[in-house]
Amino acid sequence: MDVAQFLHEFWIARGAIWDGFQMTVAISALSIFFGTLLGLFVGLALVYAWLPVRFVVRIYVDFIRGTPVFVLVLASFYILSVIGIQLTAFQAGILAITAFCSTHVGEMVRGALAAIPRGQSEAAMAIGLTFRQTFQSVLMPQALRQILPTWVNAATEMVKASTLLSVIGVAELLLATQQVISRNFLSLEFYFLAGFIYFLIDFSIERLGRFVEKKLAYC
């Protein structure tokens, strides 16, 4: 490997790589944000909703989770346009990963709520808290702490899933890197660079998660 040549090419490609990096961060952040928000509702619906609603949400979760993210990405870009919903590649990609994220978060929330001993809500009700107050002050704070580690893991998965948007033409980090490589043929060096950047993003999320986990820890 010629270091001088790599640095030279990197200098030329720095703008493209930076743009790709920003795009990857944007896709991940938006999908994780909306996916988590939607996922909270999915989880609540799975535990508390009226039975028919729960049934519909259960089908949504099982269907989305049973489908490869890649297929979800292609479907939201190509199939939705057939039925008249025109989304840009960027929007379609966000939609697919958000849906994917929401089902995972939904299952986590459901599991965490189910894992809280019955005595917790009984104790809360015994002092006269309504269901809503019990949920806000007793159940949700415990559930959130419980899901944090798995949520961090899911968030890093969403960053990795964002690479799939390269296939529908979103110039995120992977596609940007491929475009750079097609110009300078330094495939080994630039794929390695891209991999390293993905690692940095995920590593940062993980550190942040650990930090929050420690802050919230109780003995």
Partner: protein, 256 residues
């Protein structure tokens, strides 16, 4: 003139599916009474207590606290469970202490006590903290107010749970086998707290397996047997001269 009984239970029935656990229980308690319920497992002691706190629905009978019927009402001649907000208010009339403590693990001892005061009694934070500190000091745990439940021993947790319940200023305290999950050496610290409250004149309904304690603290002891009240009376009478064979056996097999 007799004043209104503090707790009045009439013909209480409760089934789990086909299994009838309570087969018509009647009980009257006046203010400052301390009633202990003894009996073997499955006799319906805990279920009865949970009905008084409305943690269980019951199918027949009435429960009145200080003259007010709780949990159910008659509408057009039909018995109906009250709306949730009413149920929550009725639950706050009694303070319940559980076998498994059930403290909120994500809150400090102090916040375990202030939660209900702030949310249900609508106190200001400072006021609630003051009330909570008063009761934590009464159970001897003022110095542990900032500890989380996980940092406390079982006996300490149960004392916090008692403070949490009594700080709400309930008319009646319910204790559900509160020492059963404790190491033997921790039992007394909890029982002493309860005795202390009894001497304050707190009205208490206590399900227990601690016969010595029931003997010492109660104004009346109830022996539950197969979903009914088998026998009741002052502790000395009940323990020393059991009328039924069943109670005599039970007492003989219990440790004091």
């Amino acid at each position: 003139m007799m004043s209104e009984p503090l707790l009045f239970i009439e013909n209480l029935h409760k089934s789990f599916g086909k299994l009838e656990v309570l087969k018509g229980v009647d009980l009257t308690m006046n203010a400052s009474d301390v009633v202990s319920i003894i009996g073997s497992s499955g006799s319906g002691k805990t279920t009865m207590l949970r009905c008084v706190n409305l943690l269980e629905e019951f199918h027949e009978g009435r429960i009145l606290i200080d003259g007010e019927e709780i949990g159910y009402t008659l509408k057009n001649g039909k018995r109906q469970r009250l709306p949730k907000a009413q149920i929550a208010r009725h639950r706050a009339l009694t303070g319940m202490v559980f076998q498994t403590f059930n403290l909120f693990p994500h809150l400090t001892a102090l916040k375990n006590v202030t939660l209900g005061l702030i949310k249900v009694r609508k106190m200001k934070k400072d006021e609630a903290a003051e009330v909570a500190r008063h009761w934590l000091s009464r159970v001897g745990l003022l110095d542990r107010q900032d500890h989380y439940p996980g940092q406390l021993s079982g006996g300490q947790q149960q004392r916090v749970a008692i403070a949490r319940a009594i700080a709400m200023n309930p008319k009646l305290m319910l204790f559900d086998e509160v020492t059963s999950a404790l190491d033997p050496e921790l039992v007394n610290e909890v029982l002493n707290v309860i005795k202390d409250l009894a001497s304050d004149g707190m009205t208490m309904l206590i399900v227990t397996h601690e016969m010595r304690f029931a003997f010492d603290v109660s104004t009346k002891v109830i022996f539950m047997n197969e979903g009914r009240i088998g026998e009741q009376g002052p502790p000395a009478e009940l323990f020393n001269n059991p009328k039924s064979k069943r109670l005599a056996e039970f007492i003989q097999n219990s440790t004091f």
